[in-house]
Amino acid sequence: MTDLNESLTRKRLAGFITRAAGARDATIVALERMSGGAVQENWALDVELDGELRRWVLRTDARAPVRESLTRAQEFAVLKVAHAANVLAPEPLYLCADPAVTGQQFFIMQRRPGVAAGHRVTRDPELVPDPARLARELAANLARLHRIKPPHPELGFLKTVLARDNIAHYRSYLDTLSRAYPVLEWGLRWCEIKAPASEETTFIHRDYRTGNYLVNDGHLAGLLDWEFPAFGNPLEDVGWMCARCWRFARPDLAVGGVAKLEDFIPEYERASGRHVSRTDLVYWQVMAHLRWAVIALQQVERHLSGADRSLELALTGHIIGQLELEILDLTEQT
């Protein structure tokens, strides 16, 4: 963990903000680590810029970055493009690529009000008084995001991952492990057999789910966590949003534990002009569980290898069974 509050670091940071904002004076009023983000750190940053209070978030690398995550500079570029496409996301403000300021790359973005924590959003009806409305907002926002298409001059660094690329990628990861995962192999084989003959390619977020968006006054207020985007099949994001592993306290509510499918899919179809069949949805729900299982295995590996020892990463190993059970349930339906 970096300590941004070390007095020299804080001073250099204030200097950077003054220059980046073209201000006369920037005074850091508060700088505090926010919860969440095992991979990247978010700090709540309140600054008086020429006497006017600004509420921002400073986003910086943690010690051990995971594979497949973007650099902060790339994430900043993605946020700019998303923001310009009217996707609800924090507005990115200043990027600092110079490690001399804090020791790491970081950027500053607007701090939006609201609650993101999945266990609260799925449990507290006061936070989400009209779940169907929130689901429609999530659907319309996702459709806007999927309007960003490759090739894109600002996003040349993004990989393209379609269904078969995902399968090959997950298999090559499983091949590095010392034990076999037959259920995951079955899920991958099923996805291979049922892979779509042709796929549309758009910008995809790849972590569009409850826990990663802010809810404020019952409305969608912004999408967080832009670490894993790619170009790919837009239905991958739809499947991720509706996967059982992201329903927190309400596994009975298919759309992120907050709403029913019929509150989300028709609105997504209307706003995107794309048809989402039941078969498509199940396909990408299976893929979502495969992906989460692979990420969970990578997290366990970080603990087991000693690279990053933590009880939280260790316990991630014990969610694999739940993901496997869901893969079996979904693939036996069809």
Binding site: R171, L174, V183, W186, E312, Q322, E324
Partner: protein
């Protein structure tokens, strides 16, 4: 032979003390860690209680699936043998050798193995399905 309480009993006592006395007294920012510690202890406890039974049942099923008559094994030998059978199963699934008639038997084995694993990892996930 070790004295009583044995590993399982001692862990139970430690977990009871932890959840009854320490967890409620933890500061808010340590509560999540406290819950994870209690969860980890519960998993260990269930793993000790489950013993080798699930592994032996899995060994039987895999033997049938591969048309072998496996001899009864125990301990590390059993776990080593299971690992190599599961590697073979994984390879065969990937190669499409279970796409046809044997698919149902293969899936039945995977489901049982997953349920046995969850009985240790997270028994709540098996409820209400």
């Amino acid at each position: 032979m070790n004295d009583r309480p044995d590993a399982r009993e001692l862990l139970q006592a430690a977990r009871d003390a932890f959840t009854a006395e320490i967890l409620p007294a933890l500061a808010h920012e340590l509560r999540y860690t406290g819950l994870m510690v209690a969860n980890a202890m519960a998993i260990v406890q269930r793993e000790i209680e489950a013993g080798d039974a699930a592994a032996r049942a899995e060994w039987e099923r895999l033997g049938k699936l591969f048309s072998k008559r496996p001899e009864p094994l125990a301990g590390d030998v059993l776990h080593g043998a299971l690992a190599s059978y599961n590697q073979r199963l994984a390879n065969d699934i990937r190669a499409g050798r279970f796409d046809g008639r044997e698919r149902a038997a293969m899936l039945e084995n995977l489901r049982r193995t997953t349920e046995e694993k969850l009985a240790v990892s997270n028994p709540k996930a098996l409820q209400g399905r």
